[in-house]
Structures are given as C-alpha cells and as structure tokens.
Symmetry: C2
Subunit: 141 residues, 2 copies
Amino acid sequence: MTDSFLKYPGYILRRAANAAKADLDERLSVFGLRQGNFSFLRLIDDSPGMSQSEAGRLLGIKSANMVAFASRLEQAGLLNRESADGRSLALSLTPKGRATLEESNRIVAEFERDLLQRVPESMRSMVIPILMAIWNPSDSD
Amino acid sequence: MTDSFLKYPGYILRRAANAAKADLDERLSVFGLRQGNFSFLRLIDDSPGMSQSEAGRLLGIKSANMVAFASRLEQAGLLNRESADGRSLALSLTPKGRATLEESNRIVAEFERDLLQRVPESMRSMVIPILMAIWNPSDSD
DNA sequence: TATTGTTATACTCTATAACTATA
DNA sequence: TATAGTTATAGAGTATAACAATA
C-alpha cells in the first residue's frame, strides 16, 4: 500500500466498511440475505407492525427504494405487508422470516464478535463510541 | 432510533461510512467528483505511471470495473492513459486533473478534519488504529 | 396540505464469465 | 501460463421526479 492513504480516517472508514459488508454478505449468503436485508428483518422483528416508511426512515432507505427492497423479502416469504390505515403498510415477519432471522442472528453475532476481536483489547471499548461520534445520527440522518 | 442496533459495531460502521460518503460526495460534487474518483486521482498523483491494474488492486476495484471508472475520468480530461508495455496502461494526471485534485484536496482536508472533530478529543488518536484493525487490509483485501 | 406508497428512471458500485493480446 | 485490459451482463444501492390515494 502506498501508505499515503492510511492517514485519512474517511478513506479507512470506507475501506473498513466495504470489507465488513463483503464479509457479512458472504456469511449471510446461505440464507439468501445481505447486510441490509438482515438489519431490516431485525428491525421489523423488534417492532412488529412498523410501517414501511418508518422502517425506511430508521434504516436510511428512501421510500422509493423501499418498494423493491421490501417486495423482495415479501416474495421470499419472509415478510408480511398488511394495509394498516389505507395508506400505511404494517410490516411483520412470517414464521419463515422469524426462523431465518433466528438462524442468521447467530451468524451475525459471530461476525460482530470477529470484527471486534480484530481490535486490540485495550481499544475495544471505544469502537462503538467512536463510530457513533463519526456517524452522528442526530444531524446527518 | 430503536436503540437495539446501536450495540452492533458492524451496523454502526456501515451507517457511519454511508453518512461520511454522502457528506464527501456532496462536498466534491462541485468538481464533478465522488469519493472514489478522488482517492483514485490522489493515488495516481502520488505515483504517476502506475498501471491501471495496480491502481485497482490498491483501491479494491476489480479490473472489469476499472475500465468504465478510469474512462470516465479520462473523458473528463483529468486522466492520461498511455500504453506502457503493450498490455499495461500507464496512468497519469492531466494538468486539469492536477488542478482539480489540488482544489479538491482542500475540500477533502476539511471533510477529514470535520469527521475527526466529531470524535471527542480523548478518543481521537484511536480512530485510525481502530479502523485499521477492523479493516485488516493484510488478509481481507 | 402533508404523508404513504408507488412507478419510472438513471447512475454508481460490485461481481462473474468470457475474451484478446501480451509477458 | 499468468497477467492486463476489455466487453457483456447482472444485481444491488441510491437518488430524483412525478403521481395517486389517504390522513
């Protein structure tokens, strides 16, 4: 590596995130899931009945893009979309969706553990505070 | 936010990287550049004559995808591609490419500074070590 | 009027497979 | 044989604009 890039946190952040995403996508491929699908399923499992627009807002997915995204999971038999009030859709997991989530939860827990363990123990407790500070969800999205 | 996600470093890593990319893309849009273009220009400026395949290897861009990627920059008048040895292409910046890089360097320096300053001062020195550890470039790519 | 969901569209990124030409 | 570059193709992510139906 040319090294000149290793000074730039923004650059390393991107490479680290890309590598982590590729790693997790690979691990989740057995379930036909990817990083984004998994987060979505976990969110809906945590809050059954959540509307599609609310889920998109929390996950940073625009409503126009939520259509295909949620449809894919619905067609895979993992997601129910029921009309809530005429315009809102109430989302919930199907039994298959819950079973898939359950299995993939274990894989993702391993992934998260492996990720954390690459960080030297002395710095490990700062991983989340630092990433949260960089993300700054309050104003950036 | 549902909070249940804020325990997962992999998730926060992704959101932080997405937010940072959107931020930088926005700042670079005046120059018609995006995060990836900029890294590429900086790499070639650091090492003029570097081959396209070598640049792709360092930046994690597959050779099939480098074609359109580099062509865009060439057509924008920022990049020279000259035949090096019959199969390799030697890359270098045009004067316009260097000028664009120079201007955008300042913008990116601001971006990197703003990003770092969101991290509390006491943790700031660990940003790069932590991200490097997560990335783990030696084996992951 | 503002929100929810949708369609259409477009660009970028990433990935694989197959090919040509060259080392 | 291995490498450099290319073409073709496909899937996914993201963005905007415009629209219908509903609150």
